[in-house]
Symmetry: C2
Subunit: 124 residues, 2 copies
DNA sequence: ATAATTACCTCGATGAACAAGGTATGTAGA
DNA sequence: TCTACATACCTTGTTCATCGAGGTAATTAT
């Protein structure tokens, strides 16, 4: 693939990711039976997508703090047997509402794109 | 809906949009039988999504120029019987390649989200 | 000792969307 | 005629987000 397309692809990937950050973090934390923590989330996401969707720490930690400040997550510190202390996260009722909003929007966007592509004669 | 969720929703919508901009523009222009132009694209997109996905001029025109500079679109000026001159756009072979890249990425993201949600016990 | 892994965080550079404002043409009505 | 509106394009500056780079610190392995 030539250089221009390469650049374009990277840009597209990056932009596509952005909207999904909070959404996926809320989904991940909300789905865990036991409270989880930042480092674990980052590694899980990376391995889960075969390394294609990796979120750097500089991105994830600020968003986790932001979600906490907004009352979507609640946190507490806990010990670890294998390393330094961990900050655990749990989703709150308000967080579940926020997740539902993301889900609704995601469905809308998905339909919009499907319709547009169908209209454009592209099969998905 | 309370204020915090409202703000969060707007942020999510905005971020979700961003990755779709070039993708939808390429899809729209690539699917038109006849060459189209900026003002028309903007209005079509707005009406097509029931006003929910509107792209302001300050967003669309720079992207159209950017796509042209990258060789994904070719342009020419033409007259209009009902107003000022129009700048028409057509997709190039390179532009079709770029579109295919977006499409592939879109499918990947889509699957990733589906998997994650399924994993989180959420039905889409 | 020292390197690697685990685990958290902040700062600053870069870059994107878009509100706001600008230019200009054609048309319809008063 | 002139004035308001719709059409049609563009640029600038503000704002805000990502994330690379760097820092701190605990545990374990060599």
């Amino acid at each position: 693939m030539d250089r221009d397309l390469e650049v374009f692809k990277n840009k597209f990937e990056k932009e596509m990711k952005s909207g999904l950050l909070s959404f996926l973090l809320l989904a991940t934390i909300g789905s865990e039976k036991d409270p989880t923590y930042g480092y674990r989330i980052i590694n899980n996401l990376a391995s889960y997508s075969g390394g294609r969707y990796s979120l750097p720490e500089g991105t994830v930690y600020p968003i986790l703090n932001q979600l906490s400040e907004r009352g979507f997550l609640k946190t507490y510190w806990g010990d670890s047997k294998t390393g330094p202390r961990r900050k655990y996260y749990e989703i709150t009722p308000q967080g579940r509402k926020a997740f539902e909003i993301c889900l609704k929007e995601w469905k809308f966007i998905n339909e919009l794109v499907s319709d547009m592509l169908k209209n454009a004669g592209v099969e998905l």
